[in-house]
């Protein structure tokens, strides 16, 4: 499984810009789709869910999700995300990408069944490598990744 599509959800435009650029550096072939709030990201995903024939390329294989956002926080995003079809959910890995290092936030993320890992900002190429390259190799070994 190769990563060719990453969805970014963050209310901070600068962070979105930085993350996009980092992903570009990591692998220029990876497509990114950015959303500045959880709701619009969710409606996009719901739309994908409705379409029977989806080109697999448009489905993101990874979502990088910020926690602290107005209207819908990262954790609330998971509540809605659960409503999507199992087929779709199985194809997507959701990672938290946050500046918070609070043990509480990490614990909350750990308790979220659909959360695949926790990355602290700022995103770097190295972090992305350890996240994506390894996730291909040892997906079964490590159900939750914490990358500081």
């Amino acid at each position: 499984m190769t990563i060719n599509n990453i969805m970014l959800i963050d209310d901070n435009k600068i962070d979105l810009f930085v993350n996009q650029r980092i992903i570009e550096k990591y692998n220029p072939e990876v497509k990114t789709r950015v959303f500045n709030n959880g709701n619009s990201a969710l409606s996009f995903l719901k739309l994908l869910d409705l379409k029977e024939t989806i080109e697999s390329e448009t489905i993101p294989s990874v979502i990088l999700l910020d926690i602290n956002m107005p209207e819908m926080s990262g954790f609330n995003f998971f509540k809605e995300f659960k409503q999507l079809s199992t087929l779709l959910k199985n194809k997507i890995e959701v990672y938290i990408l946050s500046s918070s290092t609070s043990p509480d936030d990490v614990r909350k993320a750990q308790n979220e069944s659909l959360c695949a890992g926790y990355i602290t900002k700022p995103l770097t190429v190295d972090k992305l490598k350890s996240l994506l390259d390894k996730s291909v190799n040892m997906i079964q070994d490590e159900p939750f990744k914490k990358i500081v």
Partner: protein
């Protein structure tokens, strides 16, 4: 009435007989309640009051003198069965003269057979009666007696009767003291005590004494001390006792009285403090104005009531337990901290009280004094303070947390900048900027952590030191000096240790990071070392981190735990928060931190924390 009846029943020639009866006897008629409705002149003379002021009053004759309760009881029992009673009555007149009266009391029935009144016919036999019977009490004028009382030795028999006096004037005077009972001159409250003292003299042959208060000729209150000594005959039997009374020196007495007045006034006038005095079984016998104001009961309502009436019903079980515990400890002469409990006002309102108890003895009786303070205001302030400090902690946490977001964004941008082609000068500046940003981020992390230390108390679990230390070391891997330092780690753990894992992690991380920061560079002859010792017992854990690094100057040792303290700008890149956090944690959990250091030789930090086995999770 009697006159009328007599006239109609008797013939005129019998009027002479009636007149002679009236002049020789005392005649009294009373109603069923004992009120006088008629008396003749002889009676009013004896009483010493005019005829019309006696009528309507309770019969003085039947108003028993304390010593003659049995007679009084016997009399009324006979009368209530409707029978006639005859016997000797004793009477003390208003001028303190004693009379013995041979009396016959007859119930008078109406047509239906109900008793409507009593007639009493008496003969004054005082003049010869006392000659036959020793126990007939004599009375003397009080003032006269008091003056002579202290000059003389009195002789007492076992009943406390005065059988002789050393001064002839006392014996001979018209109102003789001989024949009186000593109890007539003692406050009835103290009768039991004086009786016991006399008993002691006669039955055990010991000396005894008692004190009494009296008024001097000038009207000042005086304290008298009476000493009783046994007197033996040749067969070593106690035949009588001597009673010698001396006046207590006036000066200390007035002083004492002044002090007494002063303190009683003080206790009464304290409005803020609540003073309640109870006897040994916990019934209230005295309280002050403050108590009355606080609880809302009137004096009459509260005196004699149990102390528990003042304690909230909700709280009464634990409250009473606390009180009993306090009492027990007082009885053992152990000092005790103040108790806090909920008081209950008369109107049902509850309010918090702080409670201190003391006690004293007076003879055999024990008294307890509860000093209370209404702490409603303090409690409210405490709650407010708690809330405010919690809000502040939360505010600090949120601020530190939120400030981090822009910093990390800047860091991200900086990483992108580094990837661009930069000339040397710009790249130098970018690196400096990077360091600055990281420092700020670490500082905010520490701040956020320091603000939630108190919160961590809720989350107590078994601590696996091996595991925590392992992850701590991994976290420190990127730190400068880490690779060059040799670590020696020893963990001794016999039993489970309960604490908050994040806090243990933070302590270890800060101490080791600190040791790394001040490590000396590695050379051929010198290997920088850090020794980590962890020793767990049932009660506590001792963790120590020892390095052979730069060490601290003596004048810095006291300050290392202070907020934002840094030894110097060049050598350390810490924010000055690490050791402060360690100190905060140990203080919060009543632990202990120690530091020993020799300049240029090395430093040892030791932390001792309690094992929170018992209070798992429910410490709030």
């Amino acid at each position: 009435m009697l006159k009328e009846t007599a006239t109609s029943v008797l013939g005129t020639q019998d009027k002479v007989l009636l007149a002679s009866l009236k002049s020789h006897f005392l005649i009294v008629i009373s109603n069923t309640c004992g009120k006088l409705i008629y008396c003749n002149d002889n009676f009013s003379q004896l009483i010493g009051l005019p005829n019309d002021s006696i009528t309507g009053q309770t019969k003085q004759l039947l108003n028993s003198v304390i010593n003659y309760k049995t007679i009084f009881y016997n009399l009324w029992r006979t009368l209530l069965t409707g029978k006639e009673w005859s016997g000797i009555l004793f009477h003390k007149s208003t001028n303190n003269k004693a009379y013995s009266l041979n009396a016959t009391v007859t119930p008078v029935h109406n047509d239906q057979g109900e008793v409507v009144k009593y007639t009493t016919i008496c003969k004054d036999i005082s003049n010869y009666y006392s000659k036959f019977k020793d126990s007939a009490p004599q009375f003397c004028e009080k003032g006269f007696w008091q003056d002579n009382y202290i000059k003389n030795i009195l002789y007492l028999n076992v009943q406390g009767e005065i059988i002789n006096a050393s001064d002839r004037s006392l014996k001979k005077s018209e109102s003789r003291i001989v024949g009186c009972s000593v109890f007539d001159f003692v406050n009835p409250i103290n009768h039991d005590f004086v009786r016991a003292q006399i008993h002691k003299v006669f039955n055990k042959g010991k000396k005894a004494e008692f004190q009494s208060l009296g008024l001097s000729a000038k009207g000042n209150q005086r304290l008298y001390v009476s000493k009783i000594n046994p007197v033996y005959n040749l067969n070593e039997e106690i035949i009588y006792a001597t009673l010698k009374t001396v006046k207590q020196k006036t000066k200390p007495n007035t002083k004492l009285k002044a002090i007494e007045t002063k303190y009683s006034n003080i206790s009464q006038s304290i409005n803020v403090g609540i003073l309640v005095v109870t006897n040994s079984v916990g019934n209230i016998i005295e309280w002050n104005k403050g108590a009355e104001l606080a609880f809302g009961y009137s004096n009459a309502e509260i005196i004699g009531a149990p102390l528990t009436i003042l304690i909230s019903k909700k709280h009464s079980e634990t409250g009473v337990k606390e009180l009993l515990k306090a009492k027990e400890q007082l009885d053992k002469y152990v000092c005790r901290e103040n108790i806090e409990l909920l008081g209950l006002r008369k109107n049902g309102e509850e309010f918090p009280l702080e409670f201190a108890v003391s006690h004293w003895r007076n003879g055999k009786e024990k008294f307890y004094c509860a000093f209370m303070l209404d702490i409603s205001k303090r409690k409210a302030l405490e709650a407010k303070l708690k809330k405010t400090s919690k809000d502040l902690e939360l505010f600090l946490y949120r601020s530190a947390h939120d400030l981090k977001a822009p910093l990390t964004s800047a860091e991200g941008l900086l990483h992108l900048l580094k990837e661009e082609k930069l000339n040397k000068r710009v790249s130098l500046i970018v690196n400096m900027l990077d360091q600055t940003l990281e420092k700020g981020r670490l500082l905010l992390d520490d701040l956020a952590f320091a603000s939630i230390i108190s919160e961590k108390r809720r989350d107590i679990a078994i601590v696996d030191f091996q595991k925590i230390l392992g992850s701590t070391m991994i976290g420190l891997k990127g730190i400068k000096n880490f690779e060059s330092v040799a670590f020696h780690i020893a963990i001794e753990q016999e039993t489970d240790f309960y604490f908050n894992r994040d806090l243990i992690d933070s302590i270890l991380q800060n101490l080791i990071h600190n040791a790394l920061r001040f490590a000396k560079p590695k050379t051929v002859a010198f290997i920088p070392t850090i020794n980590i010792l962890i020793n767990v017992t049932n009660q506590d854990v001792n963790m120590s981190v020892t390095d052979n690094g730069l060490g601290l100057k003596e004048n810095h040792i006291d300050k290392v735990f202070d907020l934002y303290f840094r030894v110097s700008n060049e050598e350390s890149n810490g924010a000055g928060l690490g050791l402060y956090i360690v100190k905060r944690i140990t203080d919060d959990f009543n632990g202990e931190t120690r530091v020993e250091s020799k300049f240029n030789k090395g430093t040892t930090f030791s932390v001792c924390l309690p094992n929170l086995k018992e209070s798992t999770g429910n410490d709030n």
